[in-house]
C-alpha cells in the first residue's frame, strides 16, 4: 500500500459526496416505501429468508472467493478451518461474543500453522 494516489483533497471530497448518494439511496428508499404502506404477507414471508441468505453469501465471499472474484478456497485455509470451529461454537454456546473471540484466536493460531 505504498503507491501514492495522485488525487487532490477536492477530488476525494467529491468521491465521498457521490459515494454517499449511492450508499444512502439503497438504504433509504425501500425502508421509506415499506414502512409507510401495508406490506403484503408474501413479501414479509420472502424477506424472512433474506438474513440467512445474505449472511451466507457474505461468508462465502470472505472464505471462498479471492479479490479477483475467482473461486480460491485454498488461499483461505485458516479462515476455512476457523469458520467450522465458529459454527460449532456458535451452535453450542449461542453467544456472539464467545463465537467471535474464539474464532479470532483460532484463525490467529491456524494462520501461524498453515
Amino acid at each position: 500500500m505504498n503507491s501514492v494516489n495522485t488525487w487532490t483533497t477536492t477530488q476525494h471530497f467529491w468521491l465521498i459526496i457521490f459515494g454517499f448518494f449511492v450508499a444512502f439511496l439503497p438504504r433509504y428508499i425501500p425502508l421509506l416505501v415499506f414502512t409507510k404502506r401495508k406490506i403484503p404477507d408474501w413479501f414479509n414471508e420472502w424477506m424472512k429468508y433474506v438474513p440467512v441468505s445474505l449472511f451466507t453469501a457474505l461468508v462465502v465471499k470472505d472464505v471462498f472467493i479471492d479479490a479477483n472474484y475467482h473461486l480460491a478456497p485454498m488461499t483461505h485455509l485458516p479462515e476455512l478451518a476457523a469458520s467450522l470451529i465458529v459454527i460449532v461454537i456458535a451452535y453450542r454456546t449461542r453467544s456472539m461474543a464467545i463465537s467471535v473471540i474464539l474464532g479470532l484466536i483460532s484463525v490467529f493460531l491456524l494462520a501461524m500453522v498453515i
Partner: protein, 292 residues
C-alpha cells in the same frame, strides 16, 4: 516514535489484538451479557451492552480501515467524513484499494453502487418492525444502517418483543461512534501500525457465521443456507462484482419463500419444518459443517 518501533513486527500486534479481544469479550461475557433487562437500568446502558460485541469488533477493523485510507491519500478530516456518511467497512476498504490503483471516479462510484445495493434488502427485511415510524426517524435510521448493526438489530427484533426502533437506532449510533473514532485514530497513526487484515477481518466473518447459526431454526432454513452458499459463489464469479451477493440473496430467499409456501399448503407435516435445535440436532450441525 516508540509506537512505531513497538509495532514494527507483526506477531506482537496480532497477539495484542487477540488478547484485546479476549479481555474485552470475557469482560462483556462475565459482567455485561444479561439476557433479561434489569428494569432499573437506564435504556442507554442496556442498549450499549447489546451492541458491545459489535463495538469491540469495530475497533481493530476501524483502525485498519483508517490506516488504509491514510495510505490511499485521504486526510484525517476526510476519513472522519467518509466513516460517518458512508459508514460501511466494505465500501471504505474498496475506496482505499481502488484509489491506490488510481481508478477513475466514475468506476469507483459504480462499484460502490453495486456494493451498497444489498442495503435495499436490509431495509426491506427490517421494515415490518419499523411500521408507523416518523419520516425523520426513517431518514436517520437509514443513514446509519449497515450490515453489522442490521445483524444485531434483526436478531433483537426477532427474539426480543420489547426491542423497539429507538433502541435499534441507538445500536446504530453506538456502532457509528466506535467505527468513526477508530477510523480517525487509524488515520492519525497512519503507517506506524501494521495490521494483518485477513486476521482482523475474520471478526466480521465470525459475526456473520454466528448470525447464520442463530437464523437456522428448521431444516428448510438449513437448505436455503446451503443453496445460498452455492448461488453466492456462482454469481460472484459470474458477475465479478458484489452484485452477485444481491442476486444470490434475492434468489435464495425467494426459493425459501416458495418452498415454505408449497410445504405449508401441500404437506404441513413435512420433515423440512423439523427443528434443528432439539432431539437429533447434533447430526444437523455436522451436516452444516460439511456443506459450509
Amino acid at each position: 516514535m516508540s509506537v512505531a518501533i513497538r509495532f514494527e513486527q507483526k506477531q506482537p500486534l496480532e497477539a495484542f489484538v487477540v488478547s484485546y479481544f479476549t479481555a474485552g469479550f470475557l469482560m462483556e461475557e462475565l459482567f455485561l451479557a444479561k439476557q433479561v433487562r434489569n428494569p432499573n437500568e437506564p435504556l442507554w446502558l442496556s442498549t450499549l451492552r447489546v451492541s458491545m460485541p459489535l463495538n469491540l469488533s469495530y475497533i481493530p477493523i476501524g483502525l485498519a480501515c483508517g490506516i488504509l485510507l491514510h495510505a490511499a491519500g485521504f486526510n484525517t478530516l476526510l476519513t472522519a467524513m467518509v466513516s460517518v456518511v458512508i459508514f460501511s467497512g466494505g465500501a471504505q476498504f474498496m475506496i482505499a484499494s481502488m484509489l491506490t490503483i488510481n481508478a477513475p471516479l466514475l468506476s469507483i462510484v459504480l462499484m460502490l453502487f453495486f456494493l451498497e445495493l444489498r442495503y435495499a434488502l436490509l431495509g426491506s427485511s427490517l421494515s415490518r418492525y419499523l411500521q408507523g415510524q416518523s419520516h425523520k426517524f426513517i431518514f436517520t435510521f437509514a443513514f446509519s444502517m449497515n450490515d453489522e448493526n442490521y445483524a444485531v438489530n434483526y436478531l433483537k427484533f426477532a427474539t426480543d418483543k420489547k426491542w423497539d426502533g429507538r433502541q435499534a437506532l441507538m445500536v446504530e449510533h453506538y456502532s457509528l461512534l466506535f467505527w468513526s473514532v477508530s477510523n480517525v485514530i487509524g488515520s492519525l497513526v497512519g503507517s506506524a501500525l501494521k495490521i494483518d487484515l485477513s486476521v482482523v477481518h475474520f471478526a466480521l466473518t465470525a459475526l456473520f457465521l454466528y448470525m447464520i447459526v442463530m437464523q437456522i431454526k428448521n431444516r428448510l432454513t438449513l437448505l436455503i443456507c446451503v443453496l445460498s452458499a452455492f448461488l453466492a459463489a456462482f454469481f460472484l464469479i459470474i458477475t465479478k462484482s458484489t452484485l452477485g451477493l444481491v442476486i444470490s440473496t434475492l434468489i435464495a430467499s425467494f426459493i425459501g419463500f416458495l418452498l415454505e409456501h408449497h410445504f405449508k399448503t401441500k404437506s404441513p407435516d413435512t420433515r423440512w419444518f423439523w427443528k434443528v435445535r432439539g432431539p437429533g440436532s447434533r447430526k444437523e450441525a455436522v451436516e452444516k459443517s460439511d456443506n459450509n
